[in-house]
């Protein structure tokens, strides 16, 4: 499969990235390389091997529904660039 310039622009837009015209070709090549690499995996014979749907072999890793409050509350907003009334302050939305 060939990655097109339009696809790069679409993906960049979805990822909220501003990429310059001269960067498009570089990204296109990089993504193409990654896809080609993934295609090597596709060429492996998987007959008689059951499908996996997760990234690990773990199954049913659950937590009981018991409250455990996080103690270092002050730390949570410590690195916020801006805050007000214990909330993250960000550029105005809508």
């Amino acid at each position: 499969m060939q990655v097109s310039k339009e696809e790069i622009l679409h993906i960049a837009n979805l990822a909220c990235l501003n990429i310059k015209e001269e960067e498009i070709e570089e990204y296109r090549k990089n993504l193409q390389d990654i896809l080609n690499f993934a295609n090597i995996v596709n060429s492996v014979n998987t007959d008689n091997i059951s499908e996996t749907i997760g990234s690990t072999s773990n199954v049913n890793v659950f937590r009981e529904d018991e409250i455990n409050e996080f103690k270092d509350e002050a730390l949570l907003l410590e690195n916020a660039p801006d805050k007000e009334n214990n909330m993250f302050k960000i550029p105005k939305v809508l």
């Binding site: 749907i53 997760g54 659950f62 009981e64 529904d65 409050e69 007000e84 909330m87 550029p91």
Partner: protein, 479 residues
Amino acid sequence: MSKEDYEVVIGLEVHSELSTKTKIFCSCPTEFGGEPNTHCCPVCMAMPGALPVLNKRVVEYAIKAGLATNCSIAHVSKNDRKNYFYPDLPKSYQISQFDMPLCTEGYVEIETKDGPKKIRLVRIHIEEDAGKLNHDEYGRGSLVDLNRAGVPLIEIVSEPDMRSTEEVDSYLKKLKSILEYIEVSDCKMQEGSLRADVNVSVRKKGAKEFGTRTEMKNMNSFRSITRAIEYEAQRQIEVLENGGKIEQETLRWDEVSGKTFSMRDKEDAQDYRYFPEPDLAIINISDEMIDDIRKSLPEMPESRRERYVKELGLPEYDSNILTSSKYLSDLFENATKVCNNPKAVSNWIMTDITRILNEEEKEPNEIPFTAEQLGELVTLIDKGTISSKIAKQVLEELFKNPKSPQDIIKEKGWIQISDESAIKEVVLKILEANPQSIVDYKAGRDRALGYLVGQAMKETKGKANPQMLNKMFLEELNK
């Protein structure tokens, strides 16, 4: 062509907050309200390196909802990432479920004017709620509160099976009542714990293909949902009648102007690039687990309704209203246990309690008094301790300042006068003051008796036993 030539087609995606104690992927409390960012931790705030662990009860509750809505339960299920940017979503992806939801292919049966109808469900899946954006006081920026981020939700997706706002209304009411009955969500609309995305399209009656649909997101009251659908269907019909074309788009419903508006900035937003969530394990559900949950399901509204009609002799209509809410139904059953008078309890709920709830714009789950107190109130009437007129005052008092009705009537001095000599005294006094009524009565005007009893009730501030008054007036008049 006019509106009557068109059919409206509606499908709903209902989001319901689950009433677990903790969030879906961390141990923070889900409690509504609280100071901003105090129910948070590195996981729900999306700090780098923090890892989610699934709350077992969320899975159980979703399966419970699936079983109560006749769904098939998956034996293998997984979580997926739904990618989009919005400041109330700290990870920039929502952990949801894409192609392997917990529940699929169910239905909810509703009553329509043409009889019962099945609204089919496509799926029920689990996901996390987003945070909340507030505006700062000078309007220069937005403030992010992540207390709600990570609160567990189930999303219940229907087929586009509804054809009118009445059907939408019954579907939502039914769904809400089911979720309340199985106790997986408290469905408090005003706290946003039940919200719906509404898909609307129109087509000419008899047409086989669906029209192009538009979507209105995040509606949180039954009334705005109904209004929005009516407006949007009419708008679409007008566009089509004028030779136009419906664009598939997301609209914003504006409650104040009563109109829908296009949200143009979301053109690319539908491309969510779902992929399997690598931080969470696969979910395997055994038949044994499904059976256990099935056994834990409580008696559902249909069965209660049937019991009320057949065993307690209540009218069908009353039984429907009583069972429409688990709170009302429980109130009815528990109060009946105390006073053993189902018809009286039902009447109180159907008339005065409903009226006060409507006046105060409250939902049944906000009734402040207990079922035992209501039962006691009915007992006091049945024993003749208070008249039903006084009982109404006691009920008002129960809403304001709930405590034992026995104590209320003692404090207020509202105990009914059933003492024969005291009643006789009042009767004689009223007769003396109303000679014309005696003449009228003797002339065959029965209404005069009612008037006299009314005057006696007024004289005693509603405390006289009305049966005794009646009897004694008759005795005196017929002397």
